[in-house]
C-alpha cells in the first residue's frame, strides 16, 4: 500500500513526541531521540516527495470512510514540498536547540513540545479536510504558546500575551468561516467544497466566506493590516524558538491561503485585487519597519513581514508562473528565515546583545564564521545567483504582464530596502570596530564553549547555508518542482479528481 506513506511524516513526529515525553527525566536521552528522530523524519519526507513526484498525488481515507464523508489526507506536490521543508528546518533547529537552549528550559519539556509543533505542521500540510486543518492549526498554536512562554522572562510573557490573543482571535474567525462554509455547502472535504462552492448561486455569501478565510489566515501569515503581533512577539523567545516561528509558522498561514484560494475560492477577480493590494502594502510596511529597528532580532521580524508580501503577491497574480514563483519563494524563505534567526542567535552568543549600536567587530575576530553568516544574508537579499533572486525575477516578469507598475515598484522597493537593511547590518555588526561590552555574569559566551557545543551551534547554520546555496545554484531543479506545484494548483481538477476519484 503505497498511499500509507502519506501518514508517515505525521506518525514519525507523533511517536517522537511521545517517546520524548517518556524520557522526561533524562535530557541526554531526549537530545539523542530528538536528533535521531529528526534525521528519520527527513528521510521519510524525502521518501514522500520522491513518491509523489513519480506517482502523482497520493490520498488516503482515514478509517476507510469514502471521501467526502471521512477525513482525507492528501499529499500533492505542494504538501510534500512543505513537509520536506519542515523536516529540513526541523532537523537544523533540533540540533541548534540542543546547542543553545538552557538546561532549565529543556528540563520542562522543551523538546517534546517542539516535536508536537512539527506534528501539527505536518498534519496541517497533509490534511484534505478543512475542519481537520483547524484542529492541526490548534495543535500548532498550543505548542507554540508553550514554546514562546517557556522560561517565563518578562519580555517573553508580554510578547506571549499579544501572540496568543491574536492567534486565538484568528482561530475564532477561521472557525466562523468554517461554520458559514458548512452552512452553505454541508461539506468539509476541501475537494468536495471546491465543487459545491462553484455551484452556489448567491456569490455574495461566497465572497464573505472567502474574506473571513482571508482575515483568519491573514493574521496567522502576518499580512498587511494584521501583522502587528509579529514584531512584538517573535524576538522574545530564545533564538531556536524564533527560528522555528520565523521559518515555519507564518508559512503555514501562507500555505493555507494558497491552498484555500487556489482550490476552493477560485477565479474571483475582486478577491485577487484585494490580495494584490494587501501584498503591495505588506511589502512596503515590512520594509519600512525593518528600516527603523536597531535590534537585529526585530529587524529580522520585520523582514519576515516584508517577504510574506512576496508570496501573497504570487498568489494574487494568479497565473501558473506567478504561483510557481510564490512556491519557489516559500521554499527559499523557509530555509533562509530559519537560518537568519539562528545567525542572530550566534551573534547574540558571541557578543551578549542584539542591539546594533553595541555590536561590532565580529568580522575582525571571526572572519570564517562571518563568511558563513553572509550566505543566508545574501540569499535573503537575492543577490544573483543566491536563492532569493530567481523567484523575484519571475514575480517581476509576471507583474509586467498585467501592466501593474505599482506592484513592480513595491517589489523593487521591498528588495532594495532589504538590501539596504542587510548592508547596514553587515556594516554595523561585522565591520564596525567593536566596543568593549561589559561582561554578563553566567552568560555562556561562544568563546568559552567547548568545541562540541560550538559544532552544535555552527553545524545547523552550515547545513542550512548549504541548502540555500543549492537552491540558488540548482535553481533549475527547484524551478521544475515549483512549476509542477504551480501547474497542480492552477488546475484544481487534478486535486479534486485525486481525492474524489471523479
Amino acid at each position: 500500500m503505497i498511499q500509507h506513506i502519506v501518514l508517515y511524516p505525521i506518525i514519525v513526529q507523533l511517536l517522537l513526541a511521545i517517546l520524548l515525553l517518556f524520557s522526561w527525566n533524562s535530557i541526554k536521552i531526549q537530545k539523542l531521540i530528538s536528533a535521531g528522530g529528526s534525521i528519520i523524519s527527513l528521510l521519510v519526507s524525502i521518501g514522500l516527495i520522491m513518491t509523489v513526484w513519480n506517482e502523482g498525488t497520493l490520498t488516503i481515507q482515514s478509517g476507510g470512510w469514502e471521501a467526502p464523508f471521512g477525513i482525507t489526507f492528501v499529499a500533492d506536490a505542494f504538501a510534500a514540498t512543505m513537509v520536506l521543508l519542515t523536516a529540513i528546518s526541523g532537523l537544523a533547529v533540533s540540533f541548534f536547540t540542543v546547542g543553545t537552549i538552557l538546561k532549565a528550559r529543556l528540563k520542562f519539556g522543551f523538546l517534546p513540545v517542539l516535536h508536537f509543533l512539527f506534528l501539527g505542521l505536518n498534519g496541517a500540510f497533509l490534511t484534505g479536510d478543512i475542519f481537520n486543518l483547524y484542529v492541526w492549526f490548534e495543535i500548532i498554536i498550543i505548542s507554540s504558546f508553550v514554546l514562546i512562554t517557556l522560561g517565563g522572562e518578562k519580555k517573553q510573557i508580554e510578547g506571549a500575551v499579544k501572540y496568543f490573543t491574536l492567534n486565538i482571535f484568528a482561530s475564532v474567525i477561521f472557525l466562523t468561516a468554517i461554520a458559514v462554509l458548512y452552512g452553505l455547502t454541508g461539506s468539509l472535504n476541501m475537494a468536495d467544497l471546491a465543487l459545491k462552492i462553484a455551484a452556489i448561486e448567491n456569490r455574495g455569501l461566497d465572497e464573505v466566506t472567502a474574506i473571513l478565510f482571508l482575515i483568519g489566515f491573514g493574521i496567522k501569515a502576518a499580512i498587511f493590516p494584521l501583522y502587528f503581533w509579529l514584531p512584538a512577539a517573535y524576538h522574545t523567545p530564545p533564538p531556536a524558538v524564533s527560528a522555528v516561528f520565523g521559518g515555519l509558522l507564518t508559512k503555514v498561514g501562507v500555505y493555507a491561503l494558497i491552498r484555500v484560494f487556489t482550490l476552493i475560492f477560485v477565479g474571483d477577480v475582486f478577491l485577487e485585487n484585494i490580495i494584490l493590494v494587501l501584498a503591495g502594502f505588506t511589502i512596503v510596511a515590512g520594509a519600512l519597519g525593518a528600516l527603523t529597528q536597531n535590534n537585529i532580532a526585530k529587524v529580522f521580524s520585520y523582514l519576515i513581514i516584508c517577504h510574506i508580501g512576496f508570496m501573497i503577491l504570487g498568489l494574487g497574480l494568479y497565473t501558473e508562473a506567478a504561483i510557481a514563483a510564490a512556491i519557489f519563494y516559500v521554499i527559499h524563505d523557509i530555509v533562509v528565515k530559519t537560518n537568519l534567526f539562528m545567525v542572530g542567535g550566534l551573534i547574540y552568543r558571541i557578543k551578549g546583545t542584539y542591539s546594533m549600536r553595541d555590536l561590532g567587530g565580529i568580522y575582525a575576530k571571526y572572519p570564517l564564521l562571518s563568511l558563513l553568516m553572509i550566505i543566508p544574508l545574501f540569499s535573503l537579499v537575492g543577490i544573483p545567483p543566491f536563492s532569493g533572486f530567481w523567484p523575484k525575477l519571475s514575480l517581476i516578469t509576471e507583474s509586467f504582464k498585467i501592466d501593474n507598475y505599482w506592484l513592480i515598484a513595491a517589489l523593487l522597493f521591498g528588495t532594495f530596502i532589504t538590501l539596504f537593511v542587510i548592508a547596514r547590518l553587515w556594516a554595523e555588526v561585522f565591520w564596525k570596530k567593536g566596543k568593549k561590552l561589559p561582561e554578563i555574569q553566567n552568560f555562556r559566551y561562544y568563546d568559552k564553549l567547548k568545541i562540541e557545543k560550538k559544532i552544535e551551534i555552527v553545524g545547523p547554520i552550515l547545513f542550512l547555508a548549504f541548502i540555500s546555496l543549492y537552491i540558488g545554484f540548482g535553481a533549475e531543479n527547484i524551478q521544475q518542482l515549483a512549476m509542477r506545484v504551480g501547474e497542480e494548483l492552477m488546475n484544481n481538477q487534478m486535486y479534486i479528481q485525486a481525492v474524489l476519484g471523479k
Binding site: F131, Y134, V135, E138, I141, I142, F145, T149, G152, K154, K155, I157, E158, G159, A160, V161, K162, F164, T165, I168, F169, S171, V172, L175, T176, I178, A179, V180, Y182, G183, G186, L188, P231, A232, A233, H235, T236, T292, Q293, N294, N295, Y354, S355
Partner: protein, 117 residues
C-alpha cells in the same frame, strides 16, 4: 428559534469584541471566551436545527425515511469546545503569570516588547 439564536450569536460576537478592546487583561480573556462560544453556536445554527430527530437508525431499518439531525456539526462543536477549553485554561494561567511578572493588568503598560532599543 433560529431568529433568537441568530441574535444571541450576534450579541456574543459583539460583546466579545467589545471586551477584547478594553484595556484590562481579564476582560481580554472574557472577550475571547465569549467569541469562541459565539462561534460554537454559529456552527450549531448553520448545521440546521432539527428538533427531536436523532441521527440513529433503528436496528431493523436500512434507510432513513424521515428528516434527521445532522451529526457533523455536533461533532465539530464538541471538538471546538474541547480545544477552546484547553486554550482558555492556558490563557488564564498566562494572565495570572503576566500579572505577577509585569505587576499590572493594564494592556497599555505591557509595551516593553514594542519599544525601540
Amino acid at each position: 428559534m433560529e431568529f433568537l439564536l441568530a441574535i444571541l450569536i450576534g450579541l456574543l460576537y459583539a460583546s466579545g469584541l467589545y471586551m477584547m478592546l478594553r484595556r484590562s487583561l481579564v476582560k481580554l480573556i472574557i472577550g475571547l471566551i465569549l467569541l469562541s462560544n459565539g462561534a460554537n453556536l454559529l456552527i450549531f445554527l448553520l448545521g440546521r436545527i432539527t428538533k427531536g430527530k436523532p441521527p440513529i437508525i433503528p436496528e431493523e431499518s436500512y434507510n432513513f425515511l424521515d428528516a434527521y439531525a445532522d451529526p457533523v456539526p455536533q461533532a465539530l462543536i464538541l471538538t471546538a469546545i474541547v480545544i477552546s477549553f484547553g486554550l482558555q485554561s492556558f490563557a488564564i494561567v498566562l494572565i495570572k503569570r503576566a500579572y505577577k511578572v509585569v505587576k499590572t493588568d493594564d494592556l497599555d503598560q505591557m509595551n516593553s516588547t514594542d519599544e525601540f532599543s
